[in-house]
């Protein structure tokens, strides 16, 4: 009999189906105890369709090729002292935030997908989640390898995991992922694969990583794009989960809509950090946060929801508020970075004149009217030797744990604060979006571990002052925290460049 080469679809079918069975020693509900309590009804798991028909042998083949490319670039970057060729050492604050805040999330994602890769009843979904678990572990490892080179030369990268558990601002990404990890399996994949990866991660991995390339950071460019090519599989998994669940039963629609509303808002709040990386931490500019939001949410995100409308899914609640806030949040967040940086593991600074002009060009009257005057005042205070620090920890939202720097959407002069009473306790929020999330799940969110409150209660190694707290964080002023221009990073940068400040003087230098 002549051999007939199998087509991709046939091959995929043969290699990925019929691998599971109905259990007989124990009832299926005991073997898969978590996939019903959310109320999601699945009639037929065999209707699951994998978007990419990537079999395990092809997966290993292409992943190993990606890995070889990536490590070849990391090697040449370190062998050629690539750290000296970044545009300016200010850029490193973005990398510190990535190492402290984002890389631990990759590891959390690995754990989360291991868990749901065990607990979905359908074998197709289990296999997809197990492959994603491998990808996520790869992302955590490649990022740590890339950053380990920078750690030899710059501060703030020495103990990312220690800092994740102690830095007040790192509870923002940490609590985001711990919320997802402690959800049911359908909520977990909707939160991470769909709302976070499909709708929002392009904003980090496309324009920011492109900006890393523009600023000479080939290490981040290579792991960033390599990770995002895995993400493109994860995103399609997220879309598949959502469509599969919506097609299975009409009762699933309101549950999925609530998950989408919640996780769009949580993801959006987390991305305030990314927006600040783009607008303030890239010395050479690629694209503003507002422009990226326009492309990746208002165009690409709307196209996605346009498509989902056939299932009765509408745009996420409060999306119009997120779009209005695009002109404000990065400036408001940078103000907190600038004023609160003594109690962190990174440096901050005032935008240089060329950057102020770029921000004016990108944000127009919003920047010139509300934010430029504040920076000019801070600049005068610096000249007078009175660099302004808040010298206290900020008040943060009970849900997203972001410092409440947000303002009312139609009045940028008024801080936005929301309150809710529950079981005799008063809780505070940054927005209606975050308040709604609490009101839907008060038993969960009343337990939030709010770092500024804990620190002031003495639960940060007994620290009583910000200096003692910084010591407990292992990030003292000057070496790891505080203003960039009085930091070791700046002194070293000048030393390595013969006393020259290499900062660009135009946005497109």
């Amino acid at each position: 009999m002549a051999d007939r080469k199998l087509g991709l679809k046939e091959k995929y079918q043969l290699m990925t189906r019929g691998l599971d069975w109905e259990t007989t020693y124990q009832p299926m509900d005991k073997v898969f105890p978590f996939d019903k309590y959310e109320g999601i009804k699945i009639k037929d798991w065999s209707k699951w369709e994998d978007p990419f028909r990537l079999t395990m042998d092809a997966y290993w083949k292409y992943q190993s090729e990606k890995e070889r490319k990536l490590y070849a670039i990391l090697d040449s970057f370190s062998q050629n002292n690539g750290q000296l060729n970044i545009s300016d050492a200010r850029y490193m604050t973005a990398i510190k935030l990535w190492a402290q805040g984002i890389t631990p999330l990759e590891y959390y994602a690995h754990r989360g997908f291991c868990h749901v890769g065990r607990h979905f009843r359908g074998a197709g979904a289990r296999v997809a989640c197990q492959m994603q678990a491998l990808d996520e572990l790869r992302h955590a490892q490649t990022q740590m390898h890339a950053f380990s080179h920078y750690n030899k030369y710059f501060s703030g990268l020495h103990q990312a995991i220690h800092m994740r558990d102690r830095a007040w601002y790192l509870s923002i990404p940490k609590s985001f992922f711990e919320d997802a990890l402690t959800s049911g399996p359908f909520e977990f994949v909707t939160s991470i694969s769909f709302a976070f990866e499909y709708v929002l991660t392009n904003l980090l991995f496309m324009p920011f990583v492109s900006g890393a390339a523009y600023n000479g950071d080939m290490a981040t460019t290579t792991f960033g794009f390599s990770a995002q090519s895995d993400e493109s599989r994860h995103m399609t998994l997220g879309l598949e989960v959502v469509k599969f669940v919506l097609e299975q039963h009409e009762d699933n629609v309101p549950i999925m809509q609530r998950y989408i509303d919640k996780w769009f808002w949580r993801g959006y709040r987390l991305l305030a950090l990314v927006g600040t990386m783009m607008d303030y931490m890239l010395p050479k500019k690629v694209m503003s946060w507002a422009e990226a939001w326009g492309i990746y949410w208002e165009e690409n995100g709307f196209a996605l929801f346009n498509d989902l409308s056939r299932y009765g899914i509408r745009l996420p609640k409060y999306h119009e508020i997120a779009t209005k806030e695009k002109l404000h949040i990065t400036h408001q967040a940078w103000n907190v970075f600038y004023t609160a940086c003594p109690a962190t593991g990174f440096h901050a600074w005032l935008p240089q004149p060329y950057e102020m002009d770029w921000l004016s060009e990108k944000y127009g009257e919003t920047f010139d009217r509300f934010y430029r005057p504040r920076y000019e005042l801070f600049g005068e205070m610096e000249k007078a030797g009175k660099r302004f620090y808040t010298n206290r920890l900020p008040f943060v939202c009970q849900t997203c744990q972001v410092p409440d720097f947000f303002t009312e959407v139609d009045n940028p002069m008024k801080q936005a604060v929301r309150h809710h009473e529950w079981r005799g306790m008063k809780f505070n929020f940054c927005s209606d979006g975050c308040k709604d999330i609490f009101v839907n799940e008060p038993e969960k969110f009343c337990q939030s571990y709010i770092p500024p409150q804990q620190i002031y209660q003495g639960n940060a190694g007994g620290a009583r002052t910000l200096q003692e707290y910084a010591a407990w964080l292992h990030c003292p002023m000057g070496s790891d925290a505080g203003d960039y221009y009085s930091s070791d990073d700046y002194k070293n940068w000048l030393k390595w460049h013969g006393g020259r400040d290499t900062s660009p003087t135009t946005a497109a230098a």
Binding site: L8, K47, F225, M235, E240
Partner: protein, 94 residues
């Protein structure tokens, strides 16, 4: 152009991806190409197709369509994948 019916694909801007990018531009007449540092993004209304045959013509040798993963950055839309075509489109799954 309707902003809300586009699908997109993006690749690293390197020599390996160039024949793939050229094939997409040739096979999708409405394609809008945006270049940013180190990456290229291609938006197409409704449906985007990557054809093996066109890439093979560009490089003059056989090409496994799944190897687009190596230089792929991101994409949007529902995927339909065979040996000959990789299609991104909005619409019902399956």
């Amino acid at each position: 152009m309707n902003l809300h019916d586009k699908v997109f694909i993006s690749f690293q801007n390197n020599d390996e991806a160039r024949p793939i990018i050229d094939a997409i531009i040739a096979d999708n007449p409405g394609a809008i190409v945006s270049e940013m540092p180190a990456m290229i993004k291609i938006d197409v209304p409704k449906r985007l197709v990557v054809k093996r045959e066109t890439i093979e013509q560009n490089i003059g040798r056989a090409f496994d369509l799944q190897s687009i993963h190596i230089n792929l950055i991101s994409l949007s839309g529902n995927i339909d994948e065979s040996e000959d075509e990789f299609v991104l489109a909005w619409g019902k799954r399956g």
